[in-house]
Amino acid sequence: MISVRNLTKRFGDFPAVQDVTFNVKKGEIFAFLGPNGAGKSTTSKMLTTLLAPTSGSVEIDGLDPAKQGNQVRKQIGIVFQDPSLDTELTAYENIEFHGVFYHVPKRVRRERIPRLLEVFGLWERRDSFVKEFSGGMKRRLEIARCLLHTPKIIFLDEPTLGLDPQTRHQLWSQVKQLNQDEQVTVFLTTHYMEEAERVADRIAIIDHGKIIAEGTASELKSATSADSLEQAFLNLTGSAIREEEATSLDRMRNMAKMFRR
């Protein structure tokens, strides 16, 4: 379903993703596990048509995201690492917008939107503006939104970052159910080991833009002779701490502060 060959992305001289190769089968849940700055989001963006690769090839359901962007976009649903809601609109308006943009017929929207908002505990707040939402509520809305158009592949870039255990549980049970019922393929990135272990069929460990190990959780453990995936992860990536780069939103907040003086 996803086939990636020697994928490389450079920002100037800096190689964010280097010579990455992997395959994801239909109906599989595949996790990219890696520390901050490993190149997980950059890879997701190249797979989802948002960023053009420097070199290498990508096939999504047999299509090339760089050339057949629109056909690829029809097949996929995405939850980004950074927020992607219109905060000046209400929760309902945001998800309705998504439905229209993904050509979900009105009848289906009327039926599915309330159900999804209900599942993610947002139905009561459907008419509140997203700018009044907490981080967790925004995340829940983004996840509900991504499930609205029943995509063939869903991409989840650190979807549980900053979520409470209840919402995390809700998210993964929804994803697993979707995966089982409709054979939806899932590509997820995370830096939580236990999450990768619990949810994913197969895991690739990525660091400094390179895949350094790949397999099921137990394969990874035995390959590094570690008792836990966490130990395996640390054995592979070392224990140096990675700083999170300032996100565009942080930069934006700084701008806003400057303007206010």
Partner: protein, 248 residues
């Protein structure tokens, strides 16, 4: 089609909900109208040019549409920074349609602002000469709005943060405004200024508005219309091109 519609509705909703923006964006035109309109009025009159308020009002309407439209185009930067642009960019909708929806939304908001300023001008004493030509005036307002929303979108597609925004305002928008003949008659302007106005799309917009509101124009109404329509299409193409190349 429904994608264009929902983008359009989104912009209208955002506009209506930001009351502070509506009020603050009306402050500037009113200031121009009062300070310049009444301040220069007597001198203009003495120079034998008639009422300065009559002359100035279409210029201030043009200015309002220019600023609102540019701002609406540049709003793309907000969507880029706050992330909503990603949501539209990964949807299975051709980017040309996204560009078109945004541009139509921005145009509508700009024209509404322009109409509000027409009413304000009328309250200040401005009187259109020929009421039958009001539809022509509105057509010119739509063209100006469309052109500069597309222009703003093209510019915002090329910028990655707000540092470039001030640059655009100071070196693009302000010259477009001041050199357009919105504030002074091109007829008596030094040849160099007149020549510059000839390559300023807003000059044709303001001139078209004067043609429609006052029945007098510098370039001729048909020329105004032709140049504006051509420039609008050009900027739509340019905007679509740059918009299509955005990487996030």
């Amino acid at each position: 089609m429904s994608c264009i519609y929902i983008l359009w509705i989104r912009q209208l909703k955002r506009y209506i909900r930001s009351r502070s923006r509506i009020v603050s964006s009306l402050g500037q035109p009113i200031l121009y109208l009062v300070a310049l309109g009444f301040g220069f009025g007597p001198i203009f009159q003495k120079a034998g040019e008639g009422s300065y308020l009559q002359f100035l009002a279409p210029g201030v309407v043009g200015m309002t549409i220019l600023f609102t439209a540019m701002f609406n185009g540049i709003e793309l930067l907000w969507d880029k920074q706050f992330g909503f642009l990603k949501e539209t960019m990964v949807a299975p909708v051709p980017r040309v349609l996204i560009m078109l929806g945004r541009t139509l939304g921005g145009t509508t908001v700009a024209v509404v602002q322009g109409l509000i300023v027409v009413i304000v001008c009328t309250l200040a004493g401005f009187r259109p000469v020929n009421w039958a030509l009001i539809p022509a005036a509105i057509a010119f307002m739509v063209l100006i709005g469309f052109l500069f929303t597309a222009f703003g979108t093209a510019v915002a597609s090329l910028l990655s943060d707000f540092q470039g925004f001030q640059l655009v305002m100071n070196f693009l928008v302000m010259p477009i405004y001041f050199l357009s003949g919105a504030l002074y008659p091109l007829r008596h302007a030094p040849p160099a200024l007149e020549a510059v106005a000839r390559i300023d799309p807003l000059a044709y917009g303001v001139d078209g508005l004067r043609a429609a509101f006052l029945g007098s124009s510098h370039f001729g109404m048909l020329t105004d219309f032709g140049v504006l329509a051509f420039a609008a299409l050009l900027f739509l193409g340019l905007g679509s091109y740059f918009f299509n190349r955005i990487q996030l």
